[in-house]
Symmetry: C2
Subunit: 220 residues, 2 copies
């Protein structure tokens, strides 16, 4: 257990928002007690879990009895509590740039491709497998084209999205790339993203956080 | 102009993400030069605007020649630059709670009901007016039911979402409620949200930021 108290993480191996928090915990060497919420079995809808996170989404972090939802709120909290290594730069301009990248994924790509949205597309709008795949591609491509241009043309991009060490931006990017790979997207044109992904997976913090390396992982 | 340099805000009267930034600028008494990007005329897709924000979304804030996209990144930046009045509490736990509320709207309600998503639903999935209205209702109701329960059951809720002064949470909530009203949603059951909305609109910073009070506003 960490010297700042007890942490418990409620997650699901395939949730890319939970993947983000796992990376942050690993980068900061914070130990947490894992709780597995099986989304396809709708365990997030139980009253017990909604008492922890009324949004009925994963992840949630419980620290010394207090629950926090929303992966980016959790990661900023961890960064304030355990500033080393920092997940945001020191200067306001750099912090804004990292948050902009993170939010461009966390707001404008990921929520559109969430399990609950794909289910709604199928049940309420009758979207078949092909239409739902096209939907997922569309929002990832839209986001990645913009992000690739942004990173490639910026002098602030280094080995990672911002400089040479991982930040909140990479913590959002890598799980989103894993989602893209899961639906067999061709990522060849995103050369900067691919380079950053390669750098990230040289770090155990990213590798150990991967969905397939979680105790609750299932075969695809 | 502010003593911390020149600010320019690229927005659109009806964008609720731009509405958020307008509230923050008003609360902090920061003057900015307005630039109007007409979303229904696709001005966000121009090369000139994409040089400012490669995501082709509003808002973007330009400060001393540097552009920032993503409303929450902009507001955190303004809060770091101009800490008074603060838009986040001081303690890490309170900051996490405020960010959790803000992100539950900014990630899990708003992006699903964006103009570009509604357009995709119509063009690619053939969703008619009713289906698109149902879609918007569904995601706002899902988010508001959880948020109402969260705020009602929390001792940290005050006159506003967190305590008795406005924070980033209210800055996200009020524009989302305006969107709900625009599609004639019945909000009667969200008594806590309504009470907070009433408190917010007693402040000129919120009133002056409303879509209908912008120079580029059109009649519905």
């Amino acid at each position: 257990m960490s010297d700042t108290g007890d942490f418990a993480l409620y997650g699901y191996f395939r949730s890319s928002a939970a993947f983000r928090v796992r990376i942050a915990l690993n980068l900061k060497s914070i130990k947490s007690e894992p709780h597995f919420i099986h989304l396809r079995k709708d365990q997030q809808l139980s009253e017990a879990y909604k008492a922890i996170n009324p949004q009925a989404l994963v992840p949630a972090l419980v620290h010394d009895g207090k629950a926090i939802g929303q992966s980016l709120a959790i990661i900023e909290y961890l960064d304030e509590l355990h500033p080393d290594p920092p997940l945001l730069p020191r200067e306001a301009g750099g912090r804004a740039r990292v948050r902009q990248i993170a939010l461009s994924i966390a707001c404008d790509i990921h929520p559109l491709n969430n399990l609950r949205v794909l289910r709604y597309l199928r049940h309420a709008l009758g979207a078949d497998d092909q239409a739902r795949n096209d939907w997922q591609y569309h929002w990832i491509v839209t986001g990645f084209v913009a992000l690739e241009a942004f990173l490639k043309n910026s002098g602030d991009t280094g080995r990672f999205c911002h400089g040479d060490s991982p930040t909140l931006a990479d913590i959002c990017l890598i799980p989103q790339m894993a989602n893209a790979r899961r639906i067999q997207m061709d990522l060849a044109e995103y050369t900067t993203l691919l380079r950053i992904e390669e750098a990230a997976y040289q770090m155990p913090a990213f590798v150990q956080a991967r969905p397939e390396n979680q105790p609750d992982a299932e075969k695809a």
